[in-house]
Protein backbone atom coordinates (compact mmCIF):
# COMPACT_ATOMS: atom_id res chain seq x y z
CA UNK A 1 0.00 0.00 0.00
CA UNK A 2 1.43 3.38 -0.99
CA UNK A 3 1.63 6.23 1.35
CA UNK A 4 -1.12 8.05 -0.44
CA UNK A 5 -3.48 5.30 0.66
CA UNK A 6 -2.22 5.62 4.18
CA UNK A 7 -2.78 9.34 4.06
CA UNK A 8 -6.28 8.95 2.68
CA UNK A 9 -7.25 6.87 5.65
CA UNK A 10 -5.13 8.81 8.11
CA UNK A 11 -1.90 7.55 9.56
CA UNK A 12 -1.77 7.55 13.29
CA UNK A 13 0.71 6.42 15.85
CA UNK A 14 0.43 5.59 19.57
CA UNK A 15 -3.29 4.83 19.48
CA UNK A 16 -3.47 4.02 23.18
CA UNK A 17 -3.50 7.66 24.06
CA UNK A 18 -6.26 8.80 21.74
CA UNK A 19 -9.95 8.03 21.69
CA UNK A 20 -10.20 6.62 18.19
CA UNK A 21 -8.53 3.42 17.04
CA UNK A 22 -6.56 4.25 13.97
CA UNK A 23 -4.49 1.87 11.95
CA UNK A 24 -0.97 1.71 13.30
CA UNK A 25 1.77 1.91 10.72
CA UNK A 26 5.44 2.65 10.79
CA UNK A 27 6.07 6.00 9.18
CA UNK A 28 7.69 5.58 5.82
CA UNK A 29 10.01 8.44 4.93
CA UNK A 30 9.66 7.77 1.23
CA UNK A 31 6.47 8.64 -0.56
CA UNK A 32 6.35 5.81 -3.06
CA UNK A 33 3.82 7.47 -5.32
CA UNK A 34 5.61 10.78 -5.64
CA UNK A 35 9.26 9.85 -5.20
CA UNK A 36 11.42 10.97 -2.31
CA UNK A 37 9.74 13.65 -0.24
CA UNK A 38 10.77 17.30 -0.32
CA UNK A 39 10.90 17.12 3.46
CA UNK A 40 11.91 13.80 4.96
CA UNK A 41 12.15 13.33 8.71
CA UNK A 42 13.33 9.93 9.83
CA UNK A 43 13.31 8.97 13.52
CA UNK A 44 14.20 12.49 14.60
CA UNK A 45 15.10 12.99 18.25
CA UNK A 46 16.01 16.36 19.71
CA UNK A 47 17.00 16.77 23.32
CA UNK A 48 17.81 19.98 25.16
CA UNK A 49 20.19 20.11 28.07
CA UNK A 50 18.36 22.18 30.65
CA UNK A 51 19.97 23.75 33.69
CA UNK A 52 17.79 23.25 36.74
CA UNK A 53 17.88 24.91 40.11
CA UNK A 54 15.46 25.76 42.87
CA UNK A 55 14.34 29.37 43.37
CA UNK A 56 16.03 31.68 45.85
CA UNK A 57 19.43 33.23 46.50
CA UNK A 58 20.98 30.17 48.20
CA UNK A 59 20.11 27.96 45.25
CA UNK A 60 21.44 30.62 42.85
CA UNK A 61 24.79 30.73 44.68
CA UNK A 62 24.87 26.93 44.97
CA UNK A 63 24.32 26.58 41.25
CA UNK A 64 27.53 28.52 40.63
CA UNK A 65 29.48 25.61 42.09
CA UNK A 66 27.34 22.62 41.24
CA UNK A 67 25.16 22.91 38.17
CA UNK A 68 22.49 20.29 37.62
CA UNK A 69 21.46 19.55 34.09
CA UNK A 70 18.65 17.40 32.86
CA UNK A 71 17.94 16.30 29.34
CA UNK A 72 14.53 17.35 28.06
CA UNK A 73 13.34 15.49 25.01
CA UNK A 74 11.49 17.97 22.81
CA UNK A 75 11.12 15.69 19.79
CA UNK A 76 10.85 11.95 20.26
CA UNK A 77 11.38 9.57 17.33
CA UNK A 78 9.43 11.65 14.85
CA UNK A 79 9.12 10.47 11.24
CA UNK A 80 7.17 11.87 8.33
CA UNK A 81 7.58 12.74 4.70
CA UNK A 82 6.14 15.63 2.72
CA UNK A 83 6.09 15.60 -1.07
CA UNK A 84 6.95 18.62 -3.18
CA UNK A 85 4.07 21.05 -3.52
CA UNK A 86 2.15 19.75 -0.49
CA UNK A 87 0.67 22.12 2.08
CA UNK A 88 0.80 20.52 5.47
CA UNK A 89 -0.40 21.79 8.83
CA UNK A 90 1.88 20.97 11.74
CA UNK A 91 -0.24 20.94 14.86
CA UNK A 92 0.11 20.30 18.55
CA UNK A 93 -0.39 21.96 21.92
CA UNK A 94 2.17 24.40 23.33
CA UNK A 95 5.46 22.64 24.05
CA UNK A 96 4.63 19.76 21.71
CA UNK A 97 7.88 20.22 19.77
CA UNK A 98 6.54 21.97 16.66
CA UNK A 99 8.92 24.93 16.72
CA UNK A 100 11.85 22.68 17.63
CA UNK A 101 11.09 20.49 14.61
CA UNK A 102 10.78 23.56 12.41
CA UNK A 103 14.15 24.80 13.69
CA UNK A 104 15.76 21.44 12.93
CA UNK A 105 14.23 21.49 9.45
CA UNK A 106 15.55 24.99 8.77
CA UNK A 107 19.04 24.10 10.02
CA UNK A 108 18.93 26.17 13.20
CA UNK A 109 19.20 23.15 15.47
CA UNK A 110 21.22 19.97 15.14
CA UNK A 111 19.26 16.74 15.65
CA UNK A 112 20.30 14.66 18.65
CA UNK A 113 19.70 11.60 16.49
CA UNK A 114 17.81 10.65 13.36
CA UNK A 115 18.06 12.18 9.93
CA UNK A 116 16.39 15.09 8.24
CA UNK A 117 16.48 16.07 4.58
CA UNK A 118 14.92 19.13 3.03
CA UNK A 119 14.90 19.55 -0.75
CA UNK A 120 17.70 17.00 -0.91
CA UNK A 121 19.90 18.86 1.60
CA UNK A 122 20.96 18.09 5.13
CA UNK A 123 19.76 21.23 6.96
CA UNK A 124 22.28 21.14 9.81
CA UNK A 125 25.12 21.77 7.36
CA UNK A 126 23.47 25.08 6.44
CA UNK A 127 24.96 25.11 2.95
CA UNK A 128 24.34 28.17 0.83
CA UNK A 129 22.32 26.19 -1.75
CA UNK A 130 20.07 24.88 1.02
CA UNK A 131 19.52 28.28 2.59
CA UNK A 132 18.60 29.69 -0.83
CA UNK A 133 15.97 26.96 -1.16
CA UNK A 134 14.05 27.62 2.05
CA UNK A 135 12.43 30.45 3.92
CA UNK A 136 11.35 30.70 7.52
CA UNK A 137 8.59 33.12 8.46
CA UNK A 138 7.99 33.58 12.15
CA UNK A 139 4.90 35.60 12.98
CA UNK A 140 6.44 36.78 16.23
CA UNK A 141 9.82 37.82 14.84
CA UNK A 142 10.50 40.19 12.02
CA UNK A 143 13.34 40.56 9.59
CA UNK A 144 12.24 43.98 8.32
CA UNK A 145 14.60 46.82 9.25
CA UNK A 146 12.59 48.77 11.78
CA UNK A 147 13.58 52.33 10.91
CA UNK A 148 13.89 51.92 7.16
CA UNK A 149 11.18 51.34 4.56
CA UNK A 150 10.55 47.67 3.61
CA UNK A 151 11.95 48.52 0.16
CA UNK A 152 15.40 48.68 1.80
CA UNK A 153 14.97 45.25 3.39
CA UNK A 154 13.97 43.92 -0.03
CA UNK A 155 17.10 45.48 -1.59
CA UNK A 156 19.19 43.96 1.20
CA UNK A 157 17.69 40.52 0.57
CA UNK A 158 18.37 40.89 -3.14
CA UNK A 159 22.05 41.29 -2.26
CA UNK A 160 22.03 38.49 0.31
CA UNK A 161 20.36 35.98 -2.00
CA UNK A 162 22.27 37.30 -5.01
CA UNK A 163 19.10 37.67 -7.08
CA UNK A 164 19.65 38.96 -10.63
CA UNK A 165 18.14 42.43 -11.11
CA UNK A 166 15.60 41.35 -13.74
CA UNK A 167 14.33 38.41 -11.70
CA UNK A 168 14.19 40.59 -8.59
CA UNK A 169 12.15 43.30 -10.32
CA UNK A 170 9.73 40.73 -11.73
CA UNK A 171 9.25 38.89 -8.45
CA UNK A 172 8.92 42.06 -6.42
CA UNK A 173 6.34 43.48 -8.78
CA UNK A 174 4.42 40.20 -8.76
CA UNK A 175 4.45 39.85 -4.98
CA UNK A 176 3.56 43.46 -4.25
CA UNK A 177 0.67 43.22 -6.71
CA UNK A 178 -0.61 39.97 -5.22
CA UNK A 179 -0.49 41.46 -1.73
CA UNK A 180 -1.78 44.87 -2.82
CA UNK A 181 1.30 46.64 -1.52
CA UNK A 182 2.43 49.74 -3.31
CA UNK A 183 3.32 52.96 -1.52
CA UNK A 184 3.49 50.93 1.70
CA UNK A 185 6.94 49.61 0.85
CA UNK A 186 8.34 53.13 0.83
CA UNK A 187 7.15 54.07 4.34
CA UNK A 188 9.36 53.31 7.36
CA UNK A 189 8.48 49.91 8.80
CA UNK A 190 7.75 51.39 12.23
CA UNK A 191 4.89 53.41 10.70
CA UNK A 192 3.15 50.38 9.17
CA UNK A 193 0.23 48.49 10.66
CA UNK A 194 0.80 44.92 11.85
CA UNK A 195 -0.99 43.58 8.76
CA UNK A 196 1.08 45.70 6.38
CA UNK A 197 4.25 44.61 8.14
CA UNK A 198 3.30 40.95 7.85
CA UNK A 199 2.61 41.34 4.14
CA UNK A 200 6.03 42.96 3.72
CA UNK A 201 7.60 40.17 5.80
CA UNK A 202 6.18 37.66 3.34
CA UNK A 203 7.53 39.61 0.37
CA UNK A 204 10.99 39.79 1.99
CA UNK A 205 10.85 36.07 2.73
CA UNK A 206 9.78 35.05 -0.77
CA UNK A 207 11.85 37.33 -3.01
CA UNK A 208 14.30 34.53 -3.72
CA UNK A 209 11.42 32.23 -4.70
CA UNK A 210 12.09 29.56 -2.10
CA UNK A 211 10.90 26.06 -2.82
CA UNK A 212 10.20 25.18 0.82
CA UNK A 213 8.25 27.49 3.14
CA UNK A 214 8.33 27.06 6.90
CA UNK A 215 5.59 29.24 8.32
CA UNK A 216 5.46 29.56 12.10
CA UNK A 217 2.25 31.28 13.21
CA UNK A 218 2.24 33.62 10.22
CA UNK A 219 -1.16 35.18 10.95
CA UNK A 220 -0.73 35.75 14.67
CA UNK A 221 -2.25 39.04 15.79
CA UNK A 222 -3.78 39.86 12.41
CA UNK A 223 -7.41 40.78 11.88
CA UNK A 224 -9.75 38.36 10.10
CA UNK A 225 -9.56 40.15 6.76
CA UNK A 226 -5.77 40.28 6.74
CA UNK A 227 -5.58 36.63 7.74
CA UNK A 228 -7.73 35.75 4.72
CA UNK A 229 -5.47 37.80 2.42
CA UNK A 230 -2.35 36.04 3.66
CA UNK A 231 -3.89 32.59 3.39
CA UNK A 232 -4.99 33.29 -0.17
CA UNK A 233 -1.51 34.52 -0.97
CA UNK A 234 0.28 31.49 0.50
CA UNK A 235 -2.04 29.17 -1.42
CA UNK A 236 -1.42 31.05 -4.65
CA UNK A 237 2.34 30.99 -4.13
CA UNK A 238 2.23 27.26 -3.38
CA UNK A 239 0.21 26.49 -6.52
CA UNK A 240 2.23 28.77 -8.75
CA UNK A 241 5.71 27.65 -7.73
CA UNK A 242 4.86 24.14 -6.60
CA UNK A 243 6.33 25.16 -3.25
CA UNK A 244 6.16 22.89 -0.25
CA UNK A 245 4.52 24.53 2.76
CA UNK A 246 4.79 23.41 6.37
CA UNK A 247 2.61 25.56 8.56
CA UNK A 248 2.35 25.69 12.33
CA UNK A 249 -0.52 27.68 13.70
CA UNK A 250 -2.81 27.77 16.67
CA UNK A 251 -5.38 29.39 14.43
CA UNK A 252 -7.33 26.45 13.07
CA UNK A 253 -8.83 28.62 10.34
CA UNK A 254 -5.32 28.89 8.86
CA UNK A 255 -5.04 25.13 8.81
CA UNK A 256 -8.54 24.51 7.50
CA UNK A 257 -8.07 27.03 4.69
CA UNK A 258 -4.58 25.95 3.66
CA UNK A 259 -3.76 22.40 4.58
CA UNK A 260 -5.43 19.28 3.19
CA UNK A 261 -3.06 17.23 5.31
CA UNK A 262 -2.11 17.65 8.94
CA UNK A 263 0.63 16.22 11.10
CA UNK A 264 -0.21 16.30 14.78
CA UNK A 265 2.44 15.89 17.45
CA UNK A 266 2.20 15.88 21.20
CA UNK A 267 5.11 15.72 23.65
CA UNK A 268 7.41 15.36 20.67
CA UNK A 269 5.68 12.23 19.32
CA UNK A 270 3.67 11.79 16.17
CA UNK A 271 0.01 11.46 17.02
CA UNK A 272 -1.63 11.71 13.63
CA UNK A 273 -0.54 12.15 10.04
CA UNK A 274 -3.20 12.32 7.41
CA UNK A 275 -6.23 13.97 5.94
CA UNK A 276 -7.63 16.85 7.93
CA UNK A 277 -11.27 15.85 7.45
CA UNK A 278 -10.47 12.29 8.42
CA UNK A 279 -9.00 13.53 11.69
CA UNK A 280 -12.14 15.51 12.38
CA UNK A 281 -14.28 12.50 11.54
CA UNK A 282 -12.35 10.23 13.90
CA UNK A 283 -12.09 12.55 16.85
CA UNK A 284 -15.54 14.07 16.45
CA UNK A 285 -17.60 11.54 14.50
CA UNK A 286 -20.73 13.62 14.91
CA UNK A 287 -21.95 16.11 12.38
CA UNK A 288 -23.34 19.38 13.54
CA UNK A 289 -26.91 19.89 12.26
CA UNK A 290 -28.15 23.45 12.57
CA UNK A 291 -31.89 23.89 12.07
CA UNK A 292 -33.49 27.32 11.74
CA UNK A 293 -37.25 27.23 12.21
CA UNK A 294 -39.80 29.46 10.52
CA UNK A 295 -40.28 31.41 13.75
CA UNK A 296 -36.56 32.32 13.73
CA UNK A 297 -35.31 29.91 16.40
CA UNK A 298 -32.05 28.04 15.89
CA UNK A 299 -31.34 24.55 17.18
CA UNK A 300 -28.03 22.69 16.99
CA UNK A 301 -27.82 18.91 17.25
CA UNK A 302 -24.82 16.58 17.12
CA UNK A 303 -25.70 13.58 14.97
CA UNK A 304 -23.58 10.59 14.00
CA UNK A 305 -22.88 10.03 10.33
CA UNK A 306 -24.95 6.85 10.34
CA UNK A 307 -27.98 8.50 11.90
CA UNK A 308 -27.83 11.58 9.72
CA UNK A 309 -30.34 10.62 6.94
CA UNK A 310 -32.91 9.40 9.49
CA UNK A 311 -32.46 12.48 11.66
CA UNK A 312 -32.88 14.89 8.75
CA UNK A 313 -35.94 13.03 7.44
CA UNK A 314 -37.58 13.07 10.88
CA UNK A 315 -36.77 16.70 11.45
CA UNK A 316 -38.22 17.71 8.08
CA UNK A 317 -41.34 15.66 8.74
CA UNK A 318 -41.93 17.61 11.92
CA UNK A 319 -42.12 20.76 9.76
CA UNK A 320 -41.43 24.35 10.72
CA UNK A 321 -37.97 24.13 9.11
CA UNK A 322 -36.82 27.30 7.31
CA UNK A 323 -33.19 26.21 6.86
CA UNK A 324 -31.08 23.18 7.68
CA UNK A 325 -27.28 23.07 7.62
CA UNK A 326 -25.01 20.07 8.14
CA UNK A 327 -21.43 20.97 9.08
CA UNK A 328 -18.27 19.38 10.37
CA UNK A 329 -17.32 20.42 13.88
CA UNK A 330 -14.85 23.34 13.99
CA UNK A 331 -11.23 22.20 14.01
CA UNK A 332 -10.64 24.04 17.29
CA UNK A 333 -13.13 21.67 18.91
CA UNK A 334 -11.49 18.67 17.30
CA UNK A 335 -8.04 19.64 18.54
CA UNK A 336 -9.31 20.52 22.01
CA UNK A 337 -10.99 17.15 22.23
CA UNK A 338 -7.94 15.33 20.88
CA UNK A 339 -5.52 16.80 23.39
CA UNK A 340 -7.99 16.73 26.29
CA UNK A 341 -8.51 13.01 25.71
CA UNK A 342 -4.77 12.40 25.70
CA UNK A 343 -4.32 14.40 28.90
CA UNK A 344 -7.16 12.54 30.64
CA UNK A 345 -5.80 9.15 29.66
CA UNK A 346 -2.36 10.09 30.93
CA UNK A 347 -3.78 11.38 34.21
CA UNK A 348 -5.38 7.98 34.97
CA UNK A 349 -2.83 5.77 36.78
Amino acid sequence: MGNRDLRASGRAVKPASVKYSPRVTSADPIDRDRGPGDIVVDHLVKEYRVHERASGLVAAIGSLFRRRYTARRAVDDLSFSIARGERVGFLGPNGAGKTTTLKVLSGLLHPTSGTVRVAGHEPRRRRREFLRTITLVMGQKQQLLWDLPPADTFAMNRAIYDIPRKEYDETLSELTTLLELDATVRRPTRQLSLGERMKCELVAALLHRPRVLFLDEPTIGLDVEMQAVLRRFVKEYNERFSATVLLTSHDMDDVTALCPRVIVIDKGCLTYDGDLRELARRVRPHKRVIVRTVDGKEETELVSQADLPRFIAQRLERGQVADLTVADPPLEEVMRELFATRAQKEAVP
Binding site: S106, K141, D147
Partner: protein, 273 residues
Amino acid sequence: MSAARSSLPPWLRAAPALLRIGLLEAFAYRAEFIVWMLSTTMPFIMLALMSAVTREGTIAGFDQPAFTAYYMATLLVRHLTGSWVVWQMVMEIRQGTLALKLVRPLHPLWFYFLEAVSTTFFRSLISVPLIALAFVLLGAGGSLVTDPALLGCAALGIAGAWILNFTLSAAIGTLGLYIESSVAVWDLWIGCFMIFSGYLLPIELFPPWLASAARSMPFPYLQSLPVEIMTGRHDLAHALPLLLRQAGWAAGSIALLLLLWRRGVRRFAAYGG
Protein backbone atom coordinates in the same frame (compact mmCIF):
# COMPACT_ATOMS: atom_id res chain seq x y z
CA MET B 1 32.95 45.43 -14.96
CA SER B 2 29.86 43.23 -14.69
CA ALA B 3 31.91 40.12 -15.53
CA ALA B 4 34.47 41.08 -12.88
CA ARG B 5 31.66 41.54 -10.37
CA SER B 6 30.09 38.19 -11.14
CA SER B 7 33.42 36.45 -10.63
CA LEU B 8 33.48 37.67 -7.02
CA PRO B 9 32.17 35.34 -4.30
CA PRO B 10 28.52 36.06 -3.34
CA TRP B 11 29.41 37.36 0.12
CA LEU B 12 31.66 39.99 -1.45
CA ARG B 13 29.08 40.87 -4.10
CA ALA B 14 26.61 41.54 -1.30
CA ALA B 15 28.96 43.93 0.49
CA PRO B 16 28.15 47.24 -1.30
CA ALA B 17 24.39 46.83 -0.75
CA LEU B 18 24.87 45.88 2.90
CA LEU B 19 27.23 48.81 3.48
CA ARG B 20 24.62 51.10 1.94
CA ILE B 21 21.91 49.69 4.22
CA GLY B 22 24.24 50.09 7.21
CA LEU B 23 24.75 53.75 6.33
CA LEU B 24 21.00 54.29 5.91
CA GLU B 25 20.42 52.74 9.34
CA ALA B 26 23.14 54.89 10.91
CA PHE B 27 21.55 57.93 9.27
CA ALA B 28 18.12 56.93 10.60
CA TYR B 29 19.60 56.94 14.11
CA ARG B 30 21.54 60.18 13.55
CA ALA B 31 20.05 62.00 16.56
CA GLU B 32 20.97 59.20 19.02
CA PHE B 33 24.29 58.95 17.30
CA ILE B 34 25.23 62.59 17.73
CA VAL B 35 24.06 62.60 21.35
CA TRP B 36 26.22 59.54 22.02
CA MET B 37 29.22 61.16 20.33
CA LEU B 38 28.85 64.32 22.34
CA SER B 39 28.55 62.28 25.50
CA THR B 40 32.01 60.77 24.99
CA THR B 41 33.54 63.31 27.33
CA MET B 42 36.04 61.29 29.35
CA PRO B 43 39.12 62.46 27.36
CA PHE B 44 38.00 66.09 27.92
CA ILE B 45 37.62 65.50 31.67
CA MET B 46 41.04 63.84 31.85
CA LEU B 47 42.54 66.65 29.76
CA ALA B 48 41.18 69.28 32.15
CA LEU B 49 42.50 67.32 35.12
CA MET B 50 45.97 66.72 33.70
CA SER B 51 46.22 70.32 32.44
CA ALA B 52 45.67 71.53 35.99
CA VAL B 53 48.28 69.09 37.32
CA THR B 54 50.91 70.14 34.74
CA ARG B 55 50.41 73.88 35.10
CA GLU B 56 53.73 74.07 36.95
CA GLY B 57 55.79 71.56 34.96
CA THR B 58 55.77 68.15 33.28
CA ILE B 59 54.89 64.60 34.32
CA ALA B 60 56.84 61.76 32.72
CA GLY B 61 57.70 64.03 29.80
CA PHE B 62 54.10 65.23 29.27
CA ASP B 63 53.53 68.99 29.39
CA GLN B 64 50.21 70.73 28.75
CA PRO B 65 50.40 70.72 24.89
CA ALA B 66 51.49 67.06 24.97
CA PHE B 67 48.49 66.12 27.14
CA THR B 68 46.19 68.13 24.86
CA ALA B 69 47.50 66.31 21.80
CA TYR B 70 47.32 62.93 23.60
CA TYR B 71 43.70 63.29 24.69
CA MET B 72 42.51 64.78 21.41
CA ALA B 73 44.17 61.88 19.59
CA THR B 74 42.58 59.51 22.13
CA LEU B 75 39.17 60.96 21.33
CA LEU B 76 39.78 60.60 17.59
CA VAL B 77 40.98 56.99 17.87
CA ARG B 78 38.06 56.05 20.14
CA HIS B 79 35.57 57.48 17.63
CA LEU B 80 37.25 55.72 14.74
CA THR B 81 37.75 52.32 16.38
CA GLY B 82 35.04 51.84 19.03
CA SER B 83 32.67 48.92 18.48
CA TRP B 84 29.47 48.15 20.31
CA VAL B 85 28.37 45.15 18.25
CA VAL B 86 28.14 43.19 21.51
CA TRP B 87 24.82 44.88 22.40
CA GLN B 88 23.19 44.01 19.10
CA MET B 89 24.41 40.42 19.25
CA VAL B 90 23.26 39.87 22.81
CA MET B 91 19.84 41.35 22.00
CA GLU B 92 19.44 39.18 18.89
CA ILE B 93 20.50 36.05 20.76
CA ARG B 94 18.13 36.70 23.67
CA GLN B 95 15.17 37.61 21.47
CA GLY B 96 15.80 34.73 19.09
CA THR B 97 15.99 37.04 16.07
CA LEU B 98 19.48 35.72 15.36
CA ALA B 99 17.56 32.81 13.81
CA LEU B 100 16.52 35.10 10.96
CA LYS B 101 20.17 35.84 10.21
CA LEU B 102 21.14 32.18 10.47
CA VAL B 103 18.65 31.06 7.84
CA ARG B 104 20.07 33.48 5.27
CA PRO B 105 22.86 32.39 2.93
CA LEU B 106 25.35 34.88 4.32
CA HIS B 107 27.46 34.53 7.43
CA PRO B 108 25.93 36.55 10.30
CA LEU B 109 29.39 37.79 11.33
CA TRP B 110 29.73 39.30 7.85
CA PHE B 111 26.49 41.23 8.48
CA TYR B 112 27.81 42.52 11.79
CA PHE B 113 31.17 43.38 10.25
CA LEU B 114 29.71 45.41 7.38
CA GLU B 115 27.29 47.16 9.69
CA ALA B 116 30.19 48.14 11.96
CA VAL B 117 32.15 49.44 8.95
CA SER B 118 29.16 51.59 7.90
CA THR B 119 28.70 52.90 11.43
CA THR B 120 32.38 53.81 11.71
CA PHE B 121 32.28 55.59 8.36
CA PHE B 122 29.19 57.57 9.35
CA ARG B 123 30.72 58.42 12.73
CA SER B 124 33.95 59.57 11.08
CA LEU B 125 32.02 61.97 8.83
CA ILE B 126 30.94 63.86 11.93
CA SER B 127 33.71 63.26 14.42
CA VAL B 128 36.84 63.79 12.28
CA PRO B 129 36.05 67.41 11.27
CA LEU B 130 34.95 68.26 14.82
CA ILE B 131 38.07 66.78 16.43
CA ALA B 132 40.30 68.39 13.76
CA LEU B 133 38.71 71.72 14.67
CA ALA B 134 39.36 71.02 18.36
CA PHE B 135 43.04 70.30 17.57
CA VAL B 136 43.32 73.69 15.88
CA LEU B 137 41.41 75.63 18.55
CA LEU B 138 43.42 74.03 21.38
CA GLY B 139 46.69 74.57 19.53
CA ALA B 140 47.57 70.87 19.70
CA GLY B 141 48.17 70.33 16.00
CA GLY B 142 51.86 71.04 16.34
CA SER B 143 52.36 67.98 18.57
CA LEU B 144 51.27 65.54 15.87
CA VAL B 145 53.75 63.74 13.64
CA THR B 146 54.10 64.90 10.05
CA ASP B 147 56.42 62.19 8.75
CA PRO B 148 54.43 60.29 6.05
CA ALA B 149 55.87 56.94 7.18
CA LEU B 150 54.72 57.51 10.75
CA LEU B 151 51.36 58.82 9.56
CA GLY B 152 51.03 55.58 7.58
CA CYS B 153 51.89 53.62 10.73
CA ALA B 154 49.24 55.56 12.66
CA ALA B 155 46.66 54.73 9.98
CA LEU B 156 47.65 51.04 10.17
CA GLY B 157 47.44 51.22 13.96
CA ILE B 158 43.92 52.68 13.73
CA ALA B 159 42.88 49.92 11.29
CA GLY B 160 44.36 47.26 13.58
CA ALA B 161 42.67 48.79 16.62
CA TRP B 162 39.35 48.79 14.73
CA ILE B 163 39.68 45.09 13.91
CA LEU B 164 40.63 44.25 17.50
CA ASN B 165 37.78 46.29 18.97
CA PHE B 166 35.27 44.73 16.59
CA THR B 167 36.39 41.12 16.94
CA LEU B 168 36.69 41.23 20.73
CA SER B 169 33.34 42.98 21.08
CA ALA B 170 31.80 40.36 18.74
CA ALA B 171 33.54 37.54 20.68
CA ILE B 172 32.01 38.77 23.93
CA GLY B 173 28.65 39.09 22.13
CA THR B 174 29.05 35.48 20.99
CA LEU B 175 29.48 34.46 24.63
CA GLY B 176 25.74 35.17 24.81
CA LEU B 177 25.34 31.77 23.14
CA TYR B 178 27.07 30.15 26.11
CA ILE B 179 26.21 32.18 29.19
CA GLU B 180 23.45 34.51 30.25
CA SER B 181 25.82 37.11 31.68
CA SER B 182 27.85 38.09 28.61
CA VAL B 183 26.87 41.72 29.22
CA ALA B 184 28.58 41.49 32.64
CA VAL B 185 31.69 40.18 30.86
CA TRP B 186 31.49 43.23 28.59
CA ASP B 187 31.25 45.57 31.59
CA LEU B 188 34.32 43.93 33.08
CA TRP B 189 36.10 44.19 29.74
CA ILE B 190 35.32 47.91 29.42
CA GLY B 191 36.57 48.47 32.98
CA CYS B 192 39.91 46.85 32.09
CA PHE B 193 39.97 48.74 28.79
CA MET B 194 39.61 52.08 30.56
CA ILE B 195 42.57 51.34 32.80
CA PHE B 196 44.99 49.37 30.66
CA SER B 197 44.43 50.79 27.17
CA GLY B 198 45.74 54.27 27.89
CA TYR B 199 42.24 55.71 27.50
CA LEU B 200 42.19 57.38 30.90
CA LEU B 201 45.93 57.89 31.48
CA PRO B 202 48.92 57.46 29.15
CA ILE B 203 50.58 54.12 29.91
CA GLU B 204 53.89 55.99 30.29
CA LEU B 205 52.50 57.47 33.49
CA PHE B 206 52.00 54.02 35.06
CA PRO B 207 54.60 52.57 37.45
CA PRO B 208 57.02 50.49 35.34
CA TRP B 209 55.64 47.10 36.51
CA LEU B 210 52.06 48.15 35.70
CA ALA B 211 53.08 49.63 32.34
CA SER B 212 54.87 46.39 31.52
CA ALA B 213 51.82 44.35 32.57
CA ALA B 214 49.53 46.58 30.49
CA ARG B 215 51.72 46.22 27.40
CA SER B 216 51.62 42.46 27.67
CA MET B 217 47.81 42.57 27.34
CA PRO B 218 45.78 43.40 24.21
CA PHE B 219 44.36 46.66 25.62
CA PRO B 220 47.07 49.12 24.45
CA TYR B 221 46.67 47.76 20.90
CA LEU B 222 42.97 48.60 21.04
CA GLN B 223 43.59 52.26 21.77
CA SER B 224 46.91 53.78 22.79
CA LEU B 225 49.24 52.39 20.11
CA PRO B 226 47.90 54.62 17.29
CA VAL B 227 47.64 57.53 19.73
CA GLU B 228 51.28 57.12 20.72
CA ILE B 229 52.38 56.91 17.08
CA MET B 230 50.33 59.99 16.12
CA THR B 231 51.75 62.02 18.97
CA GLY B 232 55.37 61.08 18.18
CA ARG B 233 55.96 58.75 21.14
CA HIS B 234 57.45 56.06 18.86
CA ASP B 235 59.90 56.34 15.99
CA LEU B 236 59.53 54.11 12.95
CA ALA B 237 61.92 51.43 14.24
CA HIS B 238 59.87 51.14 17.43
CA ALA B 239 56.44 51.47 15.82
CA LEU B 240 56.78 48.63 13.30
CA PRO B 241 57.33 45.79 15.79
CA LEU B 242 54.43 47.13 17.87
CA LEU B 243 52.23 47.10 14.78
CA LEU B 244 53.29 43.52 14.13
CA ARG B 245 52.35 42.61 17.67
CA GLN B 246 48.99 44.31 17.14
CA ALA B 247 48.50 42.24 13.98
CA GLY B 248 49.23 39.13 16.03
CA TRP B 249 46.59 40.08 18.60
CA ALA B 250 44.14 40.80 15.76
CA ALA B 251 44.77 37.39 14.16
CA GLY B 252 44.34 35.70 17.54
CA SER B 253 41.11 37.56 18.25
CA ILE B 254 39.69 36.64 14.82
CA ALA B 255 40.53 32.98 15.46
CA LEU B 256 38.93 33.20 18.92
CA LEU B 257 35.79 34.80 17.49
CA LEU B 258 35.39 32.18 14.76
CA LEU B 259 35.96 29.33 17.21
CA LEU B 260 33.47 30.73 19.72
CA TRP B 261 30.97 31.34 16.94
CA ARG B 262 31.24 27.88 15.39
CA ARG B 263 30.73 26.13 18.70
CA GLY B 264 28.22 28.65 20.02
CA VAL B 265 25.86 28.46 17.06
CA ARG B 266 25.31 24.78 17.82
CA ARG B 267 24.07 25.84 21.22
CA PHE B 268 21.63 28.40 19.81
CA ALA B 269 18.58 26.47 20.78
CA ALA B 270 15.67 27.30 22.95
CA TYR B 271 15.86 31.06 22.71
CA GLY B 272 12.71 32.84 21.68
CA GLY B 273 10.43 29.82 21.38
